[in-house]
């Protein structure tokens, strides 16, 4: 890991909340989601995603806050938060780049695409640019195999992405 591009972690230990306050809109949204299921624990993943949409990641204090809204234990929220790859328990950049590293993209230029992005941004997988603009992560087969190599930036899916066009594409994400 490149030390210069490491995450800004204030404390490696889960704190009592770091002053996190659940936004009222998010609380209501979580309660709405809860009604889609027989038991409130089921809304846990969606709740984490709701918090993440607002904050970019899931701060420590969000775990007990979500647990309280759903009426479940904080451990069962944290256990879920750390299992799923698209829930971020560390700060990420404004735009998360997901490069598909599965077989079909591997056969059609994944390595070249990854190298081009790394060269452009100076970050490897798991790292965030110093200006906080991009985080780079690998992702399971994106289901865009007919147009590999494929990648996502935020909610946008692209493919095929020629390595020499990466710089121009990234420019469109401020």
């Amino acid at each position: 890991m490149n030390e210069n591009a490491s995450f800004n972690i204030h404390s490696p230990i889960a704190s009592d909340g770091d002053g996190f306050v659940l936004h009222d809109e998010d609380r209501n949204h979580i309660l709405e989601e809860r009604d889609h299921y027989e038991q409130p624990q089921a809304a846990c993943i969606e709740a984490l995603k709701i918090v993440q949409r607002r904050h970019g990641w899931v701060p420590d204090g969000a775990i007990p806050a979500i647990a309280e809204v759903l009426g479940v234990g904080p451990a069962s929220v944290e256990g879920v938060a750390t299992f799923y790859s698209l829930i971020f328990r560390q700060p990420v950049g404004r735009h998360v780049i997901l490069i598909c590293d599965s077989s079909s993209c591997f056969l059609t230029g994944f390595d070249e695409l990854r190298e081009a992005i790394t060269a452009e941004l100076g970050i490897e997988f798991g790292q965030t640019t110093e200006d906080g603009r991009f985080t780079l992560l690998p992702v399971c087969c994106l289901g865009a195999c007919d147009r590999g190599p494929a990648m996502m930036i935020g909610d946008d899916t692209f493919g095929p992405v020629p390595p020499d066009s990466v710089a121009e594409l990234l420019k469109e994400y401020a």
């Binding site: 299921y37 027989e38 038991q39 790859s85 599965s102 289901g143 195999c145």
Partner: protein, 456 residues
Amino acid sequence: MSTRRNEFRYHSQLRQSAAERHAETHPLTWRLREDGALIGLDEYVDKQGYSAVKKVLGELSGQDVIDTMKEANVRGRGGGGFSAGVKWSLTMQGGDLPRGYLVCNADEMEPGTFKDRLLLEQQPHLLIEGMILAAYANNSFYGYVFLRGEYVEAAQAVSKAIGEARAAGWLGTNIAGSGFDFDIALHTGAGRYICGEETALINSLEGKRANPRNKPPFPGQSGAWGKPTVVNNVETLCNVPAVMQHGAKWYQELSGGLSDDGGTKLYGVSGRVNRTGLWELPIGTSGAELLDRAGGVKDGRGLKTWLPGGGSTGFLLPEHLELALDFDTIGEYGSRLGTGLLAVVTEDQSVVSLVRNLEAFFARESCGWCTPCRDGLPWTLKILQSLERGEGEQGDIELLESLATDLGPGRTFCAHAPGAAMPLESSIRHFRHEFEAGITHRRHAAHEDPIPVGEV
């Protein structure tokens, strides 16, 4: 919207023109538009949409639907190949049993698979209609579309379609005046391949870590929140309306003499070919025809090997291209049909590197619940990495073979590790020489006498 984004934006696209697709022969795709735009409720209804629901809920019993599905022999299109009708016949219902759940597995993440995306993004009402019919057959009171989180466009399409269907009375209470109640919610995931495993998916739906569950009990006995639960793939469910509209015999005959299985299949080709894409063809179509439709291998290269239906299927050789791509035939050659989307490997691409890539995927995606998978896959990966670097030891290939056996069926809670074992075992069987080329080190060379100290 700026230009580069639009230039490189991914669009799911069928490779068959509208003129080639007909209601009588292409039950999954005949309604799809040339421009690939989303088919809304009005257009779907204009094209015979929801007529199967009207027919079935008005005239037939749930048992009739199960019988027809069994006779049509619609085999699970998520890759398992288990008859949907048989699965449904094992769902517990009646008596004092509570009504259960109908879950659509839209967690498409199998490496090399891009078929469900097309159906979800362009024709979500077909899926909803299939889900209503499946729910009716299984006496389910509520349904979920379990969709992977990365399918953003599909989420918008499905969400919109659920709203439209509910407003039009196709979902909710007393559907089409039949007295049958059923509704659907969209559940989007947050990553992890293992969520596609039937029982892991149920755990994930319940808001837990996606560890698979022990079987029995099977989901049809005790699934989501302990209630009878049916989990079917998107493509499987999308076949139901046409089966119920035109009958089991019609469906069976779609595959003609090509296969004992019924119906069509959304086949595809990826890798370095001239025309990658998706085609709806009779099940049992040969790999040769698919490769032909894909315009052959790019730049005149030779074909080395191919995967018939995802990363968890076994490698096949060019001579196997003549085989019918159906579950039983491919199963006889040390592989599986899987999802039926071919990944083509050209003569200049390294099998060892590709298998390393596949095993890295399976090692990363293991949920970690059982030992052979959690520990065996990283071990496998490590050996493959040394072979790839040309630093393999004598005995590595035999070790990989024994790992492939120990990761195989019957040793683990779910099919994840056996899925990883199949490409490993078959690649060594077909391409042993490529693995042998990665061995340069003597066995245990580092331990022979690494720090000689002389007489003590």
